[in-house]
Symmetry: none
Subunit: 227 residues, 2 copies
DNA sequence: CACGCCCTTGACGCATCCCTGACGCCCAGG
DNA sequence: CCTGGGCGTCAGGGATGCGTCAAGGGCGTG
C-alpha cells in the first residue's frame, strides 16, 4: 500500500484529502504542522508527502529543505499562494510538484499518481550503505565515518558534500550541482564555499590533505570521489 | 549539457523558449509536430521533453504514450486547456508535469529544473556512456578518459570539444558548429582556437599526435572522430 | 552572560588554463 | 617556380581558479 503523509493545518481540507485517498486505497498519515510532519516522516517513511506551505510553526520551504536533507521522497506542494516566486522557491528547494488552491481533486490525484509512478519505476539503487577505502570507512545510513580506529566528526554541511560525492563514485560532480544540492540554487556560483569545505573534508579524511587521493578536484569542472 | 526537446507548433513560443533555455545553457531541439518529435526523440535522446498538447498532426496524449513505449524521459506538458480532465489524461498517460498557458517563464524553468534534478539523482542510468577505442576509453557520464592504465586529465575546454566530437562518431563536425558550441556565437570564425585545442587533445590521446588516428581533420570543413 | 561550534566571507599566493601571435609546413593554383 | 591559404606547433602573458588561512557573526549550550 502506498503511504501518503498529508501536512496541512486546515482540518476540513485534511478530512477531504484523507477521505479521497483512503477511497483510492492509499494509507494516509496527517500532520498539522511542520515539526510533526518531520517527526512523522522520519518515523513512518511515507512514499509521498503532500505539503501545505502555509503552516503555523515554520516556513514550508524549510520543511522541504529539512526533508531533502535525508530523504528523496516525492514532495507535492499545496499552496494558496499563486506567485511564481513562491513556486520557484519551493521547487528549487526540492519539491517535485506545486498545486495552487483551489484545485480539482481529480487533478491532484493524477499528480499524486504521477509522483508515485516515478518512484516505483526507479529500480531503487542497490542501497550500498558502506563505502570502504584504504584510508577510511563511510557508513551512509548511520552517517558515520571511521578513519583507522578513530571516529571522524563531520559537520552537517561537510556530510552533505561528502554524501553526494560518495554516492557517485568515480563520477565527476559539477560544481553547480554540488552547490545546488547543498546550498540551494540561490547560492549557485559561490565556488569559494566548495573550496573551503573540500579543504576541511580533506583535512579530516586524507592522509596527505595537500595531495588528495580520494577527493579529487577537476579544475574548472568539479570534484570526484575515487573509491 | 542537458538536452531539451521542445515540441510546439507556435513559432513565437518556440523562439521564446529556446532563447530562455539557451541562456541557461541547455541544449535545445525543436519539433513543430508529433511525428517530428518522435523521430527527434529517438535520434537525439533528449534529457527532457517539453510537449505542447495542441499539435497539428496528432493528439498530444498519443505522443506521450508513444514516448513511454520505449523511454522514461521526463515529459513536461504545456497546454492552453485548463480542464482537469485533460490534465488527468496527460498525467496518467505518463506525463510528469502539466503547465497551463499562459505560464510564468520563471515557474516553467523551475519545473524544468525539478524534472532534470530527479533524473540526475537516480543513479544507474542504463545509458551506455562508454566510448572505447584501441588507444583509450572515454566515460562520458563520469567525464573521465583512461589511456592504457593512466587517467588522462582534460581541461574544461578540451573536454567540451572531445564530447561534441565523440557524440557524433564518424560524422563530420563543422568548424562553425564546434566553435559555437564551445565558445559561443561571438567567437565563431576563430578557427585558430580549434587548431590549438585539437593539437592538445591529440597530444593527450593519440599514440602519434602528428598522424592522428581518431581525431581526424577534414581540411576546410571541420573535424571527425573515428571510433 | 560567556563559550564553543559552525557557517560565511574576504584576502593572498600560486598553479593552471585560455588566448594570442609568430613561424613553418603542406598543398593547390597560377 | 612562386604564392597564398589552411593547418600544426610553440611559447609567453594575462586571467582565472584553486588552496589556504583567518576573522566575524549567528546560534545553541552550559
Amino acid at each position: 500500500m502506498t503511504r501518503v503523509l498529508v501536512v496541512e493545518d486546515d482540518p476540513q481540507l485534511v478530512r477531504a484529502l484523507v477521505i479521497n485517498m483512503q477511497a483510492r486505497r492509499y494509507g494516509v498519515d496527517a500532520a498539522p504542522d511542520g515539526a510533526t510532519a518531520l517527526r512523522l516522516a522520519a518515523a513512518h517513511r511515507p512514499d509521498v508527502v503532500m505539503l501545505d506551505l502555509g503552516l503555523p510553526d515554520m516556513d514550508g520551504v524549510d520543511v522541504i529543505r529539512a526533508l531533502r536533507g535525508w530523504s528523496r521522497v516525492p514532495i507535492l506542494v499545496l499552496s494558496a499562494r499563486q506567485g511564481s516566486a513562491e513556486k520557484v522557491a519551493a521547487l528549487d528547494a526540492g519539491a517535485d510538484d506545486y498545486v495552487t488552491k483551489p484545485f480539482s481533486m481529480d487533478e491532484l490525484m493524477a499528480r499524486l499518481r504521477a509522483a508515485v509512478r516515478r518512484t516505483e519505476e526507479t529500480p531503487l539503487a542497490p542501497e550500498t550503505t558502506l563505502v570502504v577505502t584504504a584510508g577510511f570507512t563511510i557508513d551512509l545510513r548511520a552517517k558515520k565515518v571511521v578513519r583507522g580506529t578513530r571516529d571522524v566528526r563531520l559537520t552537517p554541511t561537510e556530510w552533505q558534500l561528502l554524501e553526494i560525492l560518495v554516492t557517485h563514485p568515480g563520477r565527476l560532480v559539477t560544481q553547480k550541482h554540488l552547490l545546488q544540492e547543498v546550498w540551494g540554487v540561490s547560492r549557485a556560483g559561490k565556488t569559494n564555499y566548495l573550496r573551503v569545505y573540500m579543504a576541511q573534508l580533506r583535512r579530516k579524511l586524507e592522509a596527505d590533505p595537500s595531495h588528495p587521493r580520494y577527493l579529487i578536484t577537476e579544475p574548472g569542472m568539479g570534484y570526484r570521489f575515487e573509491g
